[in-house]
Symmetry: C2
Subunit: 217 residues, 2 copies
């Protein structure tokens, strides 16, 4: 009574394997609260039918597709309709693909060996603001994260030196930094010399690169 067709959540699907596609469609149609509004075999067709004012709440997509890749497709979908939540359902679980998909805006990532039950539960999690992920994929995501957010080099710069470094990375010249900190040009020159020594760098771009790469700021 409560979940009528008009209140049910629309799902679009992109999946090139017809058998798999129909399987998922049946599964979704059997799930109260959801309905499979459209199903495509490639991104181009889906994008062609997409309107900003008539976009689905959820897009369920494969990654390996003929023509435009699923990644590229979801990028474009998110551009046209940022509110559409994308659930990736694929066989790939390599770092590269997972990373790309997440950067492209995926809100969930399941593998094709998932059970029907898991897929249905993922849809519910999605609408509740969760991010359903295959456990292995989730681990990959955390690993990637900790690797890129990793070392955070430490060269014990003094507080003032950090402040100068910060302004340096903003692109200010010595003169500009001196003015902003209300000290002499020569003072900044000295600070810079000390920073160069501590970071083992000899040019401002070297310092900027190191500061950004190792998140010193």
């Amino acid at each position: 009574m409560k979940a009528e067709k008009t209140e049910a959540i629309a799902i679009w699907m992109v999946e090139d394997d017809a058998l798999f596609r129909e399987g998922i469609r049946t599964l979704v149609e059997r799930t109260p609260g959801f309905f499979c509004e459209r199903a495509f075999s490639n991104c181009e067709d889906a994008l062609n039918d997409l309107r900003t004012d008539d976009a689905p709440r959820i897009l369920l997509t494969d990654l390996g597709l003929p023509g435009m890749s699923g990644i590229e497709g979801m990028r474009k979908v998110k551009e046209l309709s940022p509110a559409t939540e994308v659930l990736v359902l694929t066989i790939y679980d390599d770092d590269e693909r997972v990373f790309e998909a997440i950067c492209a805006g995926a809100s969930g990532y399941l593998l094709k060996n998932s059970s029907g039950e898991e897929i249905v539960s993922a849809l519910s999690q999605l609408v509740q603001g969760g991010a359903p992920m295959n456990a292995q994929v989730a681990r990959r995501v955390l690993d990637l994260f900790s690797r890129m957010g990793g070392p955070k080099g430490h060269y014990d710069l003094s507080p003032r030196e950090k402040q100068v470094l910060h302004l340096l990375v903003q692109g200010l010249s010595k003169k500009q930094i001196a003015d902003k900190l209300i000290v002499s040009f020569y003072t900044i020159d000295t600070h810079l010399k000390n920073i160069y020594e501590k970071l083992h760098e000899h040019t401002r771009s070297g310092v900027v690169a190191k500061a950004l790469r190792e998140r010193l700021i």
Copy 2:
């Protein structure tokens, strides 16, 4: 018969709330395959007892703790025993804390409102190489990820310009770049002028900063 005490997986716990701590201990002890080897009320005590050759497989820790924070604590634990998998169990779900925890090496992140069932299931997922995460936290992680891996600015640099930019970010001078690409100094000078114009920058550090921040390389 199969899961004897000696084969069961050791869990250490750090949790300052005595009531909660004992609750979890009871829960773990009731779970076949796991046992709560040690339980501490702060990180200092846990670190004091930690030996590289006798570290637990799993560390279950709170974040808000008296003295050393849970984040700092797990950082040190992972330093001494990288194989130990840390499952965070806390009330905090803000971006900052989630980000820090993951960078410090957490393999899972649950909130304290989780049911006993969820916690037990998280332990199993952990040993199977998964990364149990609260759905909201998982969404936060994906959002953070897509934000930081986001725009990937595009200023249509020519192939040669990208190459020069790359070397520039490595910290090479015009002369060095020219030598490496076996062209004249003046050629690189011209390329740089064009890069500056395309990126709307006027200094090499500005270019380096933009290239690194917007991942142009």
